[in-house]
């Protein structure tokens, strides 16, 4: 520390100049413009992808050549009592219902397993675990999000499927259940992480109030903290849904990929994402099959967007209900 006596009496003033007239703040404007540009580029990229997918999907509805082979109605209607996705057979069949059902089925299985598991884990970590345990567990679970999906898929293919077969005696080794369980692994970290954040964001004053009213710890957790974190947990589930329905590698490896239209869990399933991944590389550009694959992509895009949109609306509604009009 400087001795006070050595500080010179006359110190140069650092007071801002008294003029209020704007000077050319070119650098300021430049930086602002640059940031704006970068932001716009990222938005534009997403829009262009949507535009491109839409453009390639459109011939399914408009082109006469494509419609000779496949029509919009034909993609949903049965053909001689069968719903078949066989785009490369002698008579190509483009029924997309098995793919839709496959995607939804596998995603729902994943959510059924992942949501209770992740939310309970989040409750434990945020409400019950000690500080040390929490600091260990949270990053550890979040690290799982970094596991490449091909690794999870490989695990599901080699290990999980054997376990499932041993446990339930399924006829087919690769099936919707195995793929769904694999997906559950993939979405657990994100559902956990977002739920845990939501639980931790609940104000401590609710906890204090509940305790002062004579709540036990579990009553406080289940009747006050969990409902208060409800919107955040709902958002976590919506995120998990989006991740699961868009996930490709795990379902390619573990689902068995047979396009069957049924609700059974131990049968093979083929999802929209797996179909695009496996067929788009081989398809003749501009062929009806090519355009149908893009149509599937657009469908996935729209449905994920719709789920996110309505999910967001629901979360907003829940927030408003909890928090009143303010």
């Amino acid at each position: 520390m400087q001795d006070v006596a050595t500080i010179p009496r006359e110190i140069e003033s650092t007071r801002p100049s008294r003029s209020l007239v704007a000077k050319g703040r070119i650098v300021e404007r430049l930086v602002e413009g640059l940031i704006k540009l970068v932001a716009l580029v990222s938005i534009a990229a997403v829009l262009l992808i949507l535009l491109f997918v839409g453009k390639e999907a459109l011939p399914v509805l408009t082109s006469a050549i494509v419609q000779k082979e496949v029509t919009l109605g034909g993609m949903f209607a049965s053909r001689e009592g069968l719903f078949s996705w066989q785009p490369v057979s002698d008579i190509p069949k483009y029924n997309i219902l098995p793919l839709l059902v496959g995607s939804v089925k596998v995603t729902l299985i994943a959510l059924v397993f992942a949501v209770p598991l992740s939310v309970s884990a989040a409750l434990y970590v945020s409400e019950m675990a000690g500080k040390r345990t929490r600091e260990l567990l949270k990053p550890a679970i979040e690290l799982l999000a970094g596991v490449p999906s091909v690794v999870i898929g490989f695990f599901a293919l080699v290990v999980l499927s054997s376990w499932v077969q041993a446990a339930f005696g399924t006829e087919h080794r690769l099936n919707a259940l195995v793929a769904g369980l694999g997906l559950a692994f993939a979405i657990c970290p994100i559902v956990f992480s977002v739920s845990e954040d939501a639980l931790r964001a609940v104000p401590g004053s609710y906890r204090t109030a509940a305790t002062a009213l004579g709540s036990s710890r579990s009553q406080t957790t289940l009747r006050v903290i969990l409902p208060a974190a409800g919107p955040g947990i709902a958002a976590a589930i919506v995120l998990g849904f989006g991740r699961a329905i868009g996930e490709t590698m795990i379902v390619v490896l573990a689902s068995g990929n047979a396009a069957l239209l049924d609700g059974s869990l131990d049968h093979s399933a083929r999802t929209i994402t797996a179909t695009i991944a496996q067929e788009l590389g081989e398809v003749v550009v501009g062929s009806p099959h090519y355009h149908v694959l893009f149509f599937l992509g657009a469908l996935l895009f729209v449905s994920t967007f719709a789920v996110n949109f309505f999910g967001e609306r629901m979360v907003h509604g829940m927030r408003a209900k909890l928090g009143g009009s303010r």
Partner: protein, 279 residues
């Protein structure tokens, strides 16, 4: 007044009469809570030092003193709210109706059901107005809808909030104004029929009109329960309480009848504080 007693159960009527009689007579009411040689420390620092005090039934005891003098800590000892903070140790004894609430076999949850608390900042749950008040009843295991509705209405009436919210019971408790929220928290605490109500600066975040309402409430509630109120506001202490205790540096400097304490304090420190020389 006399007519309404017909509707009470005999036992309740009896205890009510006893209480009213005690209120009317000049003699002191029985001791409801008692702290003896109470020392509270946060790790090494002593926040409350060797405090001995009686809280009498149907009496409002105000605790005054400068910030950090230990009055809030003392208040939180009375319903074991300090248990939730790490590193707090309590020495000495606190009794409720003669029973030591820090005895090893005592469940803190049951203590808090008999000794309720209202905080400085209103903290309603993000639930409907009705569910806020019903919460304590539900966790106590009451399932009968009719009974819960009755108790909720009575608690809201006791807290002078019923007329303002009776048409919007399903709206969120957080949609109320600040003063209403605080009265909602009082109603929520009253719904479980506590015997003692602890209030930690319940009006410090409120405007003067809302403050007046809370003060009126405290005065009315006295006939039903025992109140300990911590306040920064000496006028408030003078208005609502029968007894006042002055805390300074963790010690209870003086406790006595409110009028006496404010007009003829025994201790020099008390006099300095109430005349505004410090604090």
């Amino acid at each position: 007044m006399s007519q309404s007693f017909h509707r009470l159960l005999p036992e309740e009527a009896h205890s009510a009469l006893v209480r009213i009689a005690a209120l009317k007579s000049d003699g002191p009411t029985p001791v409801k809570m008692q702290a003896k040689g109470l020392t509270v420390s946060y790790s090494a620092k002593e926040a409350v030092k060797d405090v001995t005090i009686d809280v009498h039934e149907n009496e409002v005891l105000a605790l005054i003193g400068p910030s950090g003098c230990g009055k809030s800590t003392f208040l939180r000892v009375l319903n074991r709210m300090n248990d939730t903070i790490d590193g707090v140790t309590v020495k000495g004894s606190v009794t409720l109706d003669g029973q030591d609430i820090y005895a090893p076999n005592v469940d803190a949850v049951l203590v808090r059901r008999r000794v309720g608390m209202v905080f400085q900042r209103s903290n309603p749950f993000p639930k409907s107005i009705f569910e806020n008040v019903a919460y304590g009843l539900r966790i106590a295991g009451i399932r009968e809808g009719g009974l819960i509705a009755q108790r909720v209405e009575r608690a809201l009436r006791q807290a002078a909030l019923w007329d303002e919210v009776k048409d919007r019971l399903t709206e969120s408790g957080l949609s109320l104004s600040g003063g209403q929220q605080q009265r909602l928290c009082i109603a929520r605490a009253l719904a479980v029929e506590p015997e003692v109500l602890l209030m930690d600066e319940p009006a410090s975040a409120l405007d003067p009109i809302a403050t007046a309402k809370v003060e009126d409430l405290v005065a009315e509630l006295r006939s039903d329960l025992t109140i300990v109120i911590v306040t920064h506001n000496m006028q408030q202490a003078a208005r609502v309480s029968q007894k006042t205790g002055f805390f300074y540096m963790g010690k209870l400097v003086e406790v006595g009848d409110t009028t006496t304490l404010f007009t003829r304090p025994k201790e020099r420190a008390t006099e300095d504080y109430i005349t505004g020389r410090f604090g």
